[in-house]
Structure formats: structure tokens, C-alpha cells
Symmetry: D2
Subunit: 348 residues, 4 copies
Amino acid sequence: MKRSKLRFGVVGIGRIGKIHIENLVNRIPGAEVVAVCDVATAELEAIAARFGIGKTFGDYRELLDLPEVDAVVICSPTNLHYQMIVDAAARGKQIFCEKPIDLSIEKVQAANQEVRRRGVRMMVGFNRRFDPNFLKVRETIAGGLVGQPHVLRITSRDPGPPPEQYIRASGGIFLDMTIHDFDMARYLMGSEVTEVYTRAAVLVDPMIGKAGDFDTAVITLTFENGAFAVIDNSRKAVYGYDQRVEMFGSEGMVTVTNNTPDTHILCDRVGIHTALPLNFFLERYAESYQREMRAFVDAVVNQTPVPVGGEDGLKAMVIALAAGKSARENRPVKLSEIYEGVPTCQVS
Amino acid sequence: MKRSKLRFGVVGIGRIGKIHIENLVNRIPGAEVVAVCDVATAELEAIAARFGIGKTFGDYRELLDLPEVDAVVICSPTNLHYQMIVDAAARGKQIFCEKPIDLSIEKVQAANQEVRRRGVRMMVGFNRRFDPNFLKVRETIAGGLVGQPHVLRITSRDPGPPPEQYIRASGGIFLDMTIHDFDMARYLMGSEVTEVYTRAAVLVDPMIGKAGDFDTAVITLTFENGAFAVIDNSRKAVYGYDQRVEMFGSEGMVTVTNNTPDTHILCDRVGIHTALPLNFFLERYAESYQREMRAFVDAVVNQTPVPVGGEDGLKAMVIALAAGKSARENRPVKLSEIYEGVPTCQVS
Amino acid sequence: MKRSKLRFGVVGIGRIGKIHIENLVNRIPGAEVVAVCDVATAELEAIAARFGIGKTFGDYRELLDLPEVDAVVICSPTNLHYQMIVDAAARGKQIFCEKPIDLSIEKVQAANQEVRRRGVRMMVGFNRRFDPNFLKVRETIAGGLVGQPHVLRITSRDPGPPPEQYIRASGGIFLDMTIHDFDMARYLMGSEVTEVYTRAAVLVDPMIGKAGDFDTAVITLTFENGAFAVIDNSRKAVYGYDQRVEMFGSEGMVTVTNNTPDTHILCDRVGIHTALPLNFFLERYAESYQREMRAFVDAVVNQTPVPVGGEDGLKAMVIALAAGKSARENRPVKLSEIYEGVPTCQVS
Amino acid sequence: MKRSKLRFGVVGIGRIGKIHIENLVNRIPGAEVVAVCDVATAELEAIAARFGIGKTFGDYRELLDLPEVDAVVICSPTNLHYQMIVDAAARGKQIFCEKPIDLSIEKVQAANQEVRRRGVRMMVGFNRRFDPNFLKVRETIAGGLVGQPHVLRITSRDPGPPPEQYIRASGGIFLDMTIHDFDMARYLMGSEVTEVYTRAAVLVDPMIGKAGDFDTAVITLTFENGAFAVIDNSRKAVYGYDQRVEMFGSEGMVTVTNNTPDTHILCDRVGIHTALPLNFFLERYAESYQREMRAFVDAVVNQTPVPVGGEDGLKAMVIALAAGKSARENRPVKLSEIYEGVPTCQVS
């Protein structure tokens, strides 16, 4: 009998892990989840029961040793990614890894190299590329409807800052939050970043400053094609999760606004009122998580390249490191100061 | 061991039947589908295999005879609804029935009576009540934010007319298409309709006129609370499925616009362009179908009243019959001309 | 020396009279105001001084007797229009008359006949035809962009009801307020109305009912071309002056929304907020008043037909009378019941 | 008899000069134009005749010598501003001067000093402060509705580049075009700029590069209050004049979009289409030019400070010079590198 479904093991059952499990179980006909791993035993059992997953592990290596696991989804803390990738690749498993791959360039390079050497596929979780809004922007640009790109604007603001503990382990705003925008900028521009200038501050919460991080940033990117991007970030937008992009080019402009839970418009004595944006990434990007996992399954099943690979993870990280250096030194930083190899690579 | 899931049998695997099956299987944790029935054997087997449903039948009575079936979803052609309801009620099954219950008032009354007599629940598939946009309008009105209702406007236009065969079996535009708007009008107004005036024409396709039906209509409803509603319908809006409502009242106005696949705005030399509405009901009302079925499961499990009952089905149908009479005779028609009992009933 | 400017006399210096004076003096290079007339002597002198107008009168006949007056703008109370038109036409003056021409069909006919007999031009003040929004809708329809018209929707709501005295002298909501919408419907549809059905009520203020009038109405118009229009009116929209139209046709739909004083969007913790519409007709239709008077001056100077003539005034009035009759008798009323001649006339 | 009107002389009858004349003559009751000056004699006479202006001059000093001239509007080429200001101030005339005052800091300082020494008022033509959209943004910020400012975004794109001759005389994009945005940034932020970083390029037209200028720029401003602004400029937006701002703060966000000639929305088979923005500054900022001149008249008549003074002109220019230096040197430039005195001045 022909095996029709790709069998997954999922490592890590935090917010993102649960999203991937639910999508794989309920919304992706070509996939099934056969094993899950986490150190939180009680919750792990509950998840396994709820989604009908047969096997649970506290040690990811046992999960990787299962011959019936075709592919692994790595949603563990960032500092564990590297070893898991290496171990999964060694066992010939296909890999979906949440971003960032690691906080060190060397380890990301090593992970990418190992993946290549073992001949497996690794996709990195830049889910926003699969959001219907941003996909439409990409298609519009790729279709030439805005002509030659000139200026890209990305606004990315969270509804509220994470707790101090998260901030301290995050690698900083650029590696944790802006990294999505850096990937989006490369994706939409279709060209590589050569230089970064960052102005950053602590305007939201002094705790963030004490933790050595910023909560507000304005970043200018310069691209090989001569165009620019401006990204503005905040850890706290009281009106909700603000996720917009705008590409301006020689033949026009395309932009996307936020998604809302409904389209209502209320007119009363004081004004006209509409709904706030969907509040955070689990809601806002629900569809993108589904589409991204479907794309991974398709790539593995059809043996085609994954749409977001390890090189993409590396490049976004190099930009993030340059952004941090620029913010600290208040000067434009060339990516070649961070990593020699990057500017010559191609966008996947 | 406590049984945790409501076990469903689904009768009819057309477009709507498939929607309900997929939602029950994948998106409603408290439900499972144990049997399906249709005369299209090959497709039935494919569906059963795809969704892991154990039993298939060509005769719905065999499905109803299964003791493990707690509830039945009736998605068969309208002319079969009545007998299926009677048979299901006789076996104590909980019933979810697509609209309209029947094209004859007497049979709808009889079905409702049988349901009451047997002590089962029957919910009617007016799914639009569960759409996030219309729910928000309802909440806004119920919360008093627009004050006393004065004028309700409903625009409901299909992207294109159904085939002639469908038209001929449909009972006419008012029973087939506008019936959703009549239910919506009652739902949003929170008051009963007393009189209908309809102006209708064949402007889209002469075939529809030859089939004895209209394709364009403008309908004025008068309510017990003194307010009015205006509904406009068309079988063909070239720009897609157009589904909007607006309630105007003493303290304000609330309206909802169409949903789109994305929020992109393209500005070029000739104008500013945005996406067309989601194209038809399966996409546009995807969420409402999920929420409606969840509401049915909840009502059955918690033994609470279903949010849309047989009386709602009856009332919408009486309005539809009055609308047809008004269109043919070009005069306002009181609902009491159609059915004595209606105006004294309460909105559920 | 060639006389370059059309010399105006303005009769009546109420709100509309002042608008026309200001536009003629300041914004229409081809016009000047040489005389004004009103019984309110003190205000008349102030107006004359402010706008540098040489002559003032309490009796309009003296103004009409001035040989230097080429054209007269009639902004007096409706009951005085007829005699002023007759007297102005007798003296060969070009006439701009505010709507309605009169409340009696016979007098409107007689006025129109006198204007024709004397060979002067008379334009009626349906200013909304000159509003940039509605002009764009008309152009879009005339350009075939929505195909064959099917359903026109007009929403016209005032920010608040006028005082009782005004209501009692107004001729009722249909002749006073909806008459603009009736003209708009003819203008946008490019076809004549054959039948009217009105549902009307007193929902805003019982005073209006005591004065024998309605404050809320929903009106269905049937046109010679087979299409329909739906108009909804209210004397009180708490959120301001609500003036929208939407034409739906075989190839698309065009709509216009309200104008606002600015385009700001405020996002805060509770929602997204924008500005209310411009609040009433003097602000909302400021540009249309200028354009309409410029069109009158152009027609007189170039000896071309006026864009809105006495027949347009008559036809809108007939629809208004039919609407009132329909509301009182709760049945569709054919225009031929009101006035035999109308349905055979052409839209100017 | 009491003199009620402020008597103006206007120097320069180019595009802006004509705007000011028309507003002073037709729309500002408290003003009249008694003299105009330009070297283009024929056009000057035509303008004087059209607006009923009694005196015309080829030499501005003759205009300044008229005792009946209370105030002068300087719309001549930038290189003539300085001497005209000095001469007007020496004669005690009130001064309205178009931006920029001059291209040299020293001369701007000298002009400002002379104005102060002579005790006259001088207002600089940053008309956008008086635009209803930006005024509303300012009020919203000043009213605390967005809390503490964090990030300001300004998009300012022209519909097309000016001719080469204009470019060469303009002082460069930052002094010619972005200077409006620098003033807007100060105005909206209510704080002074301390540092500028600019990334600029020639992406629109190589001619502009040959003329030593840029046509595309992205500028980051840092303010004394710790907030940032990002400005993006282009000399060519094919969809028209794009003028938007957005202020993001601790309690919310306020933004304004472009103005359009009408509010129409057309839905057809391919999409939903709306009007392009008003195309260039004469249309887009028509109201702001009126309001700004009214504000000048009011300030002079009431002897209150002008809302935009010579210090504002100076400060915007210093930012523009810093922006140019930053673009050329690709590094953040502190304003104190350009001009010592600035950071300690207060926003007027």
C-alpha cells in the first residue's frame, strides 16, 4: 500500500508548536503528526490526546530515532535549534525550523552546511511570506505593476512588549522582532541588502532598556538594486498589532493595511468608528502558518526547493546583527562588516 | 467512560453537505461524523474515505436507524426535507436542516410540530446570522449603539445566476435567495415583519423569466416596531458576491462592507485599485458555517434552545411567499394574507 | 465697449440667496450682482455693503424694472416664485429659480409656459447635479462603465429636522427634501419614472406628524427602462448629513460616499476613528452651488439650453406628489394618476 | 473714517503669487491688494486688470515706497528675497515671504535680525501647516490623543520632477522640496531636531543626477524629545501628489491620507477602483493657502505673533542643509555641525 501522508514529529509545544500541530492535523490533508516532544509532560500528554498523536517524548532524540518520522518541526527555544538540526539532518529527516536558526552566524552557517551535506531540506519559519496580503504585494511587484522598486516602507508594531525574561533571551529586538521585517524586505525587494542604518530608543518601557535592548526603532536599508527600505518598529501599539507594508516604484505603489475581525463601520454623534486590527500574530497570521506548512509539505513531497531556506535565515540574521551594531554605534553599517559572504548570495 | 463527542450522520453531500462534514470533522472538537448518506455512491465513498467516516448509506432511513447517530444534518434537496425531519424526530435524533425547510407552509408547520412533539431540537441553516460581520451589526444594535431602529438596508447580490434546472426547482428567488435576507432582517431588527412590497423584474437573463422567476428585486418590509427595511437583490453582480447591510437608527448607523481576500491597494497612473469581494458563499461565509454548526453542537450538548429554530424557518418563508405575491400583484401584501399565525409569534 | 459680465439681480437673501450672491460676486468672473431685494431692510443693506452691490429694493418689481439687470436669481419663499417668474419673463430677464418652482402642478406648468412664450431661459436649482461626486457617478454611468442600469440606491438624511414653521410651509418631506433625490434619480438613471411606492412614518419627532408630515421614508421608483430606484430619507441622522448614491448595473456598480472635513484616521485603544461627514448642505454642496451658477451663466452667455430646466422642476414635483399619495394610500401610484403629460416627456 | 482693510502689495506673479493675489482679493474680507510688481509687464497688467488692482510696478522698491501699502507678499525668486525683506522692513512694512527665505544661513539670520530690529512681522510660507488634514493631526497630537510621540512618518512625493533649470536653481531637493517636510516634522512633533541621517539616490531621472541633485530620499530625524521621524521623498509618483503623515505615540496613532477630487468607488469585473489624489500643490493645498494668508492678516491686524516666523524658516533650512551633508557623506549629521544656535531655540 502506498503511503500517502508525510509523517511529522513536532519538537516544542509552545504557542507556535501548537499552531503547527493543529494545522498539520486538521488542515493539511497530506500530513499527519505521529510524535511530539516537550519537557512539559502534562501538557504534552494533553496535546497528544487532543490531536490523536500516538507517541510522546521528553527527549527529542528519541523522536528523531523513530523510523516513521519523515519530517521534524523544530519549535524549541532558539539555543536548542542548532543541535536539533544537526541531529535531524544526520538521521535524514526533513526539517522545518522556526526563526531564528541561531543567534550566532557561525552556528547558522554550520547548520546550513550540515543540511546541505546530508541532502535534506530545511525550511525556516518566515511565515509572513505566506500571508495573503504580503503575497499579493509580492505578486504585484513581481508582475511589474509598480515598475522598478524605489522605496519600501514596513511598519511592524507589536500590541505590547513581552516579559523581561523573554526580552533577555531574545537576542534583542532586531534578532527577535525585526528579523521578520528584514526577511520581508528581501522578499519584497527581490534584491539583497548592502547597508543598514538604525536609530533606536527605549520609549515604551525602561525595563527593556535595563535588559540592554531597545523597544522603538527606525531602520534604513540600502539594497544592491539602489532602492531603499524604511522599517519602523515598536514593542507597543495600544491599538493592536500593526503590520503594514508599502512598495513605491517607478510605475506606482502598492500597500496593504491591517486585517480586522469584521468590516463594521459605526457612525454616531462623535465620529465614525471601525474595528481594531486582529490583535496578535496567532490570529493575524493564522492563514500564513497554514500556507507555510503546506508549502513545506509540498516541497518535501514533490522534492522541490523549499521556498524559504537556511540561506534566507542566515541573511536576515546578518541584517539584524548589522542593525544592532548600527544602533549602538549610530552610523551606517555595511553587511560586509558583519559577514563577508552575504552580499554575493542570491535571494532564494 | 463518558462519551465526549456528539455523533453525526450527514444526509446529502452536495456543496453544503461537504462544508458541514469538513467542519464537523476538522474544526469542531465536540463532534464527529459517523455516517453519511447520498445516492451518489462513488462520491460518497470518496468523501467517507477522505474524512475517515465509517458508514455510508444510499437510504437515509438506515442512517437514522443507527443507534450511535445522535444528530443528523439534512442537506438533501428541499422536497425531501419534510419526510427526513419527521423520520429523524421519530427516532429522537437532533436535527440540523438546511433552509428552506419546505416550500409549503403546511409542511413546515407540520415538521415544526413533529419536532416539538418528539422533544428534539431542530436548527435551521440560516448561517449568515453567524457571520462575524453580521454578528457585529447585531451586537451593535442590541447594545443600543444606533438607538431605535428606523431603516435597515440589505444588499444581497450573487456573482452569477444558477443554471435553469436549479432555478426551476428553487421555488423562486424569494424562497431561494432572498429568504436569507428575510431572516437577516428579522434577526437584525428584533421585530416581526407585518407587510411586504416587492418590485421585481428580469434584467439579468431572459431564461430566468421564461422559468417563471425574477432575477432583480427591490423589497420594502414593514415591521411591528414601525421601522422599515429595504432589500435589493440581483442574481448577477459582475464584481462578485455583494453582501452588505446597514442599520440606521435614532442614535447612529452601523454598516458592514464586503470581505476581500486581501487588503492590498494599488495606485497606478489610472487610479487606485483594491481587491474584489470574496466570490461566493462558500468562501464568504466559511466562518459562519463553522460557527453555526458549533452553535448547534453547543445547544444540543448543553440542552439549550437552538439559536435558529423551526419557527424562524417558517417566518422567513411566509415573508418570501408574501414577497412573491406582492411582486406578481404589484401591491403591498400583509403577512396575515399568507398565514394567520405569524404576526403573533415572537422572534426566537 | 463690449459688456463682459452678466448683471444679476438677486431676490431673497436667506441662506441660499447669500450663497448665490457670494458665488456670483467672488467666484464667477463672468457675473456681477447689481441689485438685491428683500423685505429685511437692515440685513439687505449689510449684504449690499459687504458685497459692493449698488442697489437695494424691498419690492422685487423695482429690481426687475432695472434695465441693467440681465438675469434674476429667485430665492424667495416658494409661494412667491410663480409671480416672480411671470414678471421676470415678461421683462425678458433670464431666470434662475430655486426649487420647487411651486407646490401646484398647474402653476409650474403655467410658469414653464410663460418662460417659453417669452423666450427666456429658466434654470431650476437642483444643485446636487453639479456636485463633483454625483457628476462622477453620472459620467461613469453615461460612459457605460456599469452597463445597463438595474438598481439605483439613494440615501439622503438630514442632520436634524427643520422647525415646525418650516415643516408646515414646506409642502411635506417629498416636495421639500426628497424632491432633490427624485431629480437625482432621473438624472442618474437617464430614464423617466413611471410609478412610485412609498412607505413613510414619523419616527424622529411627533411634532412632524402633528404637522401632517413624515420624517422617515422608503421609496421605490420604477423607470421606463425597467430599472428600479430605492430612496431612503430621514430628517435626522445624528452623525450628520448623509448623502450617498449607488448605481448597480449589468457591468458593475458605482457608488459615492460622504465628504469629510479631513481625512484623518485615529487609532486608539478602543477603535479606529475618522471624521464625521460635512454637516449640512451649505458646506457639503458648496462646490455644487458654484458650479451650478457658473453653468447658468454659461448657458445664458452662450445661448445654450440650461442644464436643468422647468420641465425638470415639473417632473420632480410630479414624482413628489405621487410619493405623497402613495404614502397616504399605501399603494403604488402611477405618475399618470398625478399628471398625464409626464411620462412622455424626455429627460433634458 | 476707520480703515478696515489691510492693504497689500504683492511682489512676483508666478504660480504662488497669483494664488496669494486671488485669495487676498476674493476670499479674505480683511485684505485688499493695492499694488503688484513683476518684470513681466504684459502679464502684470492682465493680472491687475483681472483683479482690479490699481498700481503696477517693475521695480519692487517703488511698490514699497507707496505709503498705502501696509504689507508685502514676497513671491519673487529666492535669491531676491533677502534684499526685499531688508528693504520692506526698513519701510515698516509687514512681510509675508515665501519659503525658503534664502539659501544661506547667514542671510536668513540677517533678514530675521533686520525684521526684529525694525519691529515688523515676518511670516514664512509654510502653507502646509494650515492644511485641514495636517491641522487635524496637529490638534490630535496636541490634545494628547496619541500620547507621547514616538515615531512620525511623512511621505511626500511629487507627481513629476520640475524642469532642469528649476532643479539647478532650487538649492537641491532638501532645500526645495523636503524643507516643507522638515517644517511639518517640527510642527507636528513639537520638539526640535538634533540630528539627521539621509540616504538619497537618483532613481527617477538621470538629468537630476547630472544637475548635482537627488530625486529619491529617505531621511531619519532625531528629536530632542527622544522621538524619531522618517521622511520619504520622490520627485515622481505616477499616481499623483502623495502627501501623507502618520504620528505614532504611546497612546495611539493618527494618520491622514490624500485628498481626492471625489469619493466615487467603481466595482467592475477586474477590481474596485477609486479616484487618484488631487494632482499637485495648487489644488491639494488650495485651502491651506487661504488659511495661511488669513492667519497672516489676523496676526498683523491683531498685533499677535505670526504663526510661522523667520526662526521657523531658519530651522527648516538648517535641517535641509544637514540632510544634504548627510546624504553626501553617508553619516548622521548633528544640526550643531551646521549651525550652533539652532538646537537651543524654541519652536514658535
